[in-house]
């Protein structure tokens, strides 16, 4: 099976580990070989959390710079920071709602201009899908569902061999019961947002 490499970056607490878990479970359901790894040592302390997920035939659980087929980013400045993981064929999906690092919040750094950033990413990669996932999550019923909105957009690209149905089954079985409906809604909103970006 063709190998597809996905990197997910987020700030601690944004729920990217749950997104990885849902994708992993969906792969297991679909009979797609999957391997993942994560670095989350400082997650609780405002650091960056990165997951690598490799679908298809490969043994490695990590992804080298320039070798991601997909980058999903929960935070726009982190999208820029992770850009070295991409090549000219990479599809990038990013949330546009910023979570400025503390350094910026206290005036000790400048947050990059977002429209400029999007132009740069579009120029350098195959495709950019950019939308306000926090807004979609809020519309779905809870801002914490940002992760599911981004997963929805990811599945819409069709690049990883997982059907929307299997991912939704994973959402039903692997996310908290009280959030399942909101999560499914957020997934659909993200899916539609990616269609519009086409």
């Amino acid at each position: 099976m063709e190998t597809k490499r996905l990197i997910i970056v987020a700030v601690g607490g944004q729920g990217n580990l749950l997104a990885s878990k849902v994708l992993g479970e969906a792969a297991l359901l679909s009979g797609v070989p999957v391997r993942m790894s994560e670095i989350h040592g400082m997650a609780q302390r405002g650091g960056v959390v990165e997951s690598a997920i490799i679908f298809g035939d490969a043994e490695s659980t990590i992804i080298s710079d320039g070798e991601a087929d997909l980058l999903v980013s929960f935070e726009p400045s982190e999208t820029l920071r992770a850009l070295k993981r991409c090549n000219s064929n990479t599809v990038v999906i990013t949330n546009l709602s910023p979570l400025p690092p503390f350094t910026v919040a206290i005036g000790k750094g400048t947050y990059p201009d977002l429209s400029e950033a999007q132009k740069l990413i579009r120029k350098k990669t195959a495709r950019l899908i950019a939308f306000d996932a926090v807004k979609l999550a809020a519309e779905a019923g809870n801002v914490m569902a940002v992760n599911m909105a981004l997963v929805g957009a990811l599945i819409q690209t069709g690049i990883i061999p997982l059907s929307a149905e299997n991912v939704k089954t994973a959402i039903r079985t692997r996310t908290k019961k009280t959030f399942v409906d909101i999560n499914l809604k957020a997934f659909d909103f993200g899916y539609k947002a990616a269609e519009k970006e086409n």
């Binding site: 391997r35 989350h40 650091g47 043994e59 659980t61």
Partner: protein, 618 residues
């Protein structure tokens, strides 16, 4: 029921490496486990802790790795299958026990897990613990994948019982923290009750006994070498005249590279999973069929040294390389592209590497350094210490925990750090040879782990420094594990005792001991000043529950604060505390109410008293 107790053999489950290891141990019938928590091994223990509350598995968080290994060694010498879990540097603490336990051996299986951390994602060094196998004479096995981690853990118990020696199971972060599908097998029968048979002439390591035991250990190493030579974990894949010898996660990168470079018909791979003793016979016969051999291993040239020695014994002169310039590095962790490039260069294969996008024109991205949490009591304590020592020349030896982050500006608390407990020991030396005021910083769990022995030394030798024990009532850094100072009743666990740090410190003979509540800044500063003025060893216990821990216990009672219009923009709050709840909007300081835990430290230091409880806002 805990998911790792799922009794459905054949079921495929997505497991974290650390979960797979815990499951493997359960399938082998592990009945006893001990640990001191440390990343990247922590989740193994966390799972055992949870499981031990549901069945007859005994599990304990021990005070340090040496104690943990002794606890497990006794269980294993009483016929109970045991496991002891630690991060790589924990093995240094346990080494005294390990070295002579190898002489004594075990009656039931004992597996010692060491989780190495190449690249130091969360460690102070990246030592390669395979050398502990060589140093102690104990067998080492190393998995390459998550599913193999489960298989090998189970097999390690059988190996340990066959050799009557502990077995070292060595992982790296990318095994512990990777996730993959794992097929479950049956859960083994647990026998938690043991019996100890007296046998002092084999179990009491006085010189006359140890001279005999060392002979036995050497015999066991020979037996282990035979097993290594027939082990299913040392296997050859593919064929061709080029050879690669690899271990652990390197194997995955090697296999992916071979497929990417399309050299499957030219190359064979020897994966070493039983890496101490090295399988000499397998290696010699592998080398004989090769024109050129590359050794792919993260860390030190452990296999490379052995392979070169075997080649010499066999009279083989083929090129064998591993570490070196334009080859593999001894630094950090490997990645697939780097391994592919090294293989291509070494065997002279041309290929085109995927190119990263150009990043030179990307605007500078602000750093996102880890920070002490909003309302962290360590921040309050650091601020109070800074105020109390204003104008003084100071040295702050620090230690391992969340508070290590205090070394970053603006708190800048932390001048010297080596390992767990080193703040106290090094303070003895600094205070002896310098004129500066020495103030040591250590957390509660680290104090119990190895700080207390330094304090005993300080009292006995009459050193002159102040020890601040940052007692946040839990082991926060690794995920809120219990330590001897934790109130286990609060966590609804019976059957534990709680040790008072204050009583302990006083009992050691420390003449000046004070307990402060760091959120009370004024009183804290006064108490710290008094402690610093005291000639001799003084101890400050800064006691306040970790705010994340308090939140998880639903004990967080503070209410959020806001910056009122009395603010004259001194920005002392931001510049001196750097609490992540602050932000600046239109040149004015604000407080994010969803982050603020209401510690009120900023409210106490604001020169205009402009920071007020949110409930007072109109």
């Amino acid at each position: 029921m805990h998911k790792l107790l799922t009794d459905q053999p054949g079921l495929e489950m997505l497991l974290l490496g650390n979960e797979a290891i815990a499951r493997g141990a359960l399938e082998a019938g592990v009945a006893f486990a001990s640990t001191y928590p440390g990343t990247p091994s922590s989740e193994i223990s966390l799972n055992f802790f949870q499981i031990s509350k549901e069945c007859n598995l005994y599990f304990e968080y021990s005070t340090n790795e040496k104690v943990a290994l002794e606890v497990a060694a006794a269980a294993a010498n009483s016929g109970v299958r045991s496991m002891c879990i630690m991060k790589h540097v924990g093995m240094n603490v346990a080494a005294d026990t390990l070295m002579t336990l190898a002489y004594v051996g075990v009656k039931a299986g004992l597996v010692i897990l060491t989780a190495d951390d190449p690249f130091m994602f969360s460690s102070q060094n990246e030592q390669d613990n395979r050398y502990y196998g060589k140093l102690s004479g104990l067998p080492i096995i190393e998995p390459s994948s998550v599913s193999e981690a489960k298989e090998m853990t189970a097999a390690a118990f059988a190996l340990s019982e066959k050799l009557k020696e502990p077995v070292i199971l060595r992982t790296t972060t990318r095994i512990n923290h990777s996730t993959a599908a794992v097929k479950l097998s049956d859960i083994g029968q647990r026998k938690p009750a043991g019996d100890f048979q007296k046998d002092p002439f084999n179990l009491v390591t006085v010189p006359a006994v140890s001279r005999k035991l060392h002979v036995k250990l050497l015999e066991n190493i020979s037996k282990a070498e035979e097993l290594s030579n027939t082990s299913e974990y040392n296997f050859i894949e593919g064929s061709g005249e080029w050879g690669i010898i690899c271990n652990g996660v390197s194997r995955n990168y090697v296999l992916d590279a071979i497929s990417d470079l399309a050299i499957k018909d030219k190359i064979k791979v020897l994966r070493i999973g039983f890496s101490h003793p090295m399988p000499g016979k397998i290696i010699k016969s592998f080398l004989e069929g090769c024109s050129k051999v590359l050794i792919a291993e993260e860390g030190e040239p452990f296999m490379e040294e052995a392979v070169k020695a075997f080649a010499q014994e066999a009279g083989l002169t083929l090129p064998i390389a591993g570490k070196g310039k334009s080859l593999f590095s001894r630094l950090y962790e490997f990645d697939p592209a780097m391994v592919r490039k090294t293989i291509a260069d070494f065997f002279g294969i041309s290929y085109t590497q995927k190119k990263s996008v150009e990043t030179a024109d990307i605007p500078e991205i602000p750093q996102r350094p880890p920070n002490l949490c909003a309302g962290c009591s360590h921040r309050a304590a650091f601020y109070a210490i800074k105020q109390a020592t204003k104008g003084m020349e100071t040295i702050y030896p620090t230690d391992i925990g969340c508070y290590t982050l205090g070394f970053l500006p603006p708190l800048s608390m932390g001048d010297f750090l080596i390992c767990m407990g080193s703040s106290v020991g090094t303070s003895c030396g600094f205070s002896q040879v310098t004129d500066k005021k020495v103030i040591a910083l250590i957390g509660d769990s680290t104090f119990f782990h190895s700080g207390v022995s330094g304090l005993i030394n300080a009292v006995f030798n009459n050193h002159d420094f102040t020890l601040v024990i940052l007692d946040n009532r839990t082991t926060a850094m690794t995920g809120h594990q219990p330590n001897p100072g934790v109130d286990m009743k609060e966590l609804s666990y019976d059957g534990y005792n709680q040790i008072s740090i204050e009583t302990l410190v006083k009992a050691l003979g420390v003449q000046h001991v004070s307990v402060i509540r760091p959120y009370n800044i004024k009183k804290s500063i006064t108490a710290i000043r008094e402690a610093i003025e005291f000639k001799g060893v003084s101890v400050i216990i800064a006691q306040e529950k970790c705010s994340l821990y308090a939140k998880s216990l639903k004990q967080l009672r503070g209410k959020a604060f806001f910056v009122s219009d009395k603010c004259k923009n001194h920005k002392d709050c931001i510049n001196e505390l750097a609490c992540p709840a602050f932000f600046i909007e239109e040149e004015k300081v604000g407080i994010n109410p969803s982050l603020c835990v209401g510690c009120a430290v900023c409210a106490q230091i604001c020169p205009e008293h402009a920071i007020l409880p949110l409930k007072n806002k109109d």
